[in-house]
């Protein structure tokens, strides 16, 4: 299974995401922000970092990168797309996911091992988890506060579109402790924490994050 990882100017975690794909049994494919080409991949990851220096708003300029035309079309066609941290911000700016991410309510950058509870184990990226399962993955962001109007929050809660929620600590002021969400179809997932940093015992708090990548590899293999 070939999973593309897009590199934007300012992406940081693209090689970590590629490594996570490889450890999950997939074949990572490097994609370039300036190309109108997905190279025939079966899924796409938008990695963490600070695309375009976070100028204007996080993800606002990356949304209009050439490759995003293809990513948006593929996502609307059902291709699995995962946005991690900056990738989540790009997915919200692209309107592939509802809501937006704003500066942390405490106004400081935060970096910690974060406990999450899986709320939806039916998406393309979370089928290897079970509902209610608690996992620990690193979180690092300055603008990770998830916001949306009350009607949107009620809707995504009602439709089961909350994928992961913060446990014990709400690290950035996200409304209703929301750490990650999916679209109605369940193929597009975005989250602020970094599962790609928890795929090996040597580095990070454990291997709890690997499930995101093995889920996609299995989902694609079974098609």
């Amino acid at each position: 299974m070939r999973i593309g990882v897009v590199t934007f100017p300012g992406s940081l975690d693209d090689t970590d995401a590629q490594r996570a794909v490889r450890l999950a049994g997939g074949e990572p494919v490097a994609l370039w922000h300036g190309d109108h080409d997905l190279q025939g991949v079966d899924a796409v990851i938008l990695p963490g970092g600070f695309s375009y220096g976070d100028y204007l708003r996080c993800g606002a300029i990356a949304r209009f990168a050439p490759v995003m035309t293809e990513v948006v079309a593929a996502a609307n066609g059902g291709m699995p797309v995962l946005g991690i941290c900056n990738g989540f911000q790009i997915l919200c700016e692209s309107h592939l996911l509802p809501g937006a991410l704003i500066r942390n309510d405490h106004r400081t950058f935060i970096c910690r091992d974060q406990v999450l509870q899986v709320e939806n184990a039916a998406t393309a990226w979370t089928s290897d988890y079970s509902v209610g399962q608690q996992i620990t993955v690193p979180l690092k962001n300055g603008e990770g506060g998830f916001v949306a109007d009350a009607a949107t929050l009620d809707r995504i809660e009602g439709e089961g579109q909350v994928v992961v929620r913060y446990v014990d600590v709400n690290p950035n002021g996200s409304l209703r402790d929301i750490a990650g969400i999916t679209n109605e179809r369940g193929n597009v997932v975005g989250l602020m924490p970094h599962p790609e940093h928890a795929v090996e015992d040597l580095t990070g708090p454990g291997t709890d994050g690997l499930g995101f990548f093995t889920s996609a590899v299995k989902a694609l293999t079974s098609v």
């Binding site: 708003r57 606002a60 919200c92 700016e93 937006a100 704003i102 405490h106 106004r107 916001v147």
Partner: protein, 85 residues
Amino acid sequence: MPRVIVDVMPKPEILDPQGKAVHGALPRLGFDAVTDVRQGKRFELQVDVADEATLAEVHQLAETLLSNPVIEDYEVRVEGAEVIA
């Protein structure tokens, strides 16, 4: 050449951590009269003519790139003229 101003502000119901930080610093500087601060962005767009077609384009630009309608409101005006929309 006319200049079109686009002001972008966080929606009233959206938390504005930057404005709060600025407001928090005011008492330390001895400014006690200010009861709240909201921080936004101002864009100055140079155009050849500020006619209806150009302003329609600016509105589109403001909605798609300069602001995120989920969390921000914007205002467009030609410098020196009344606020349009």
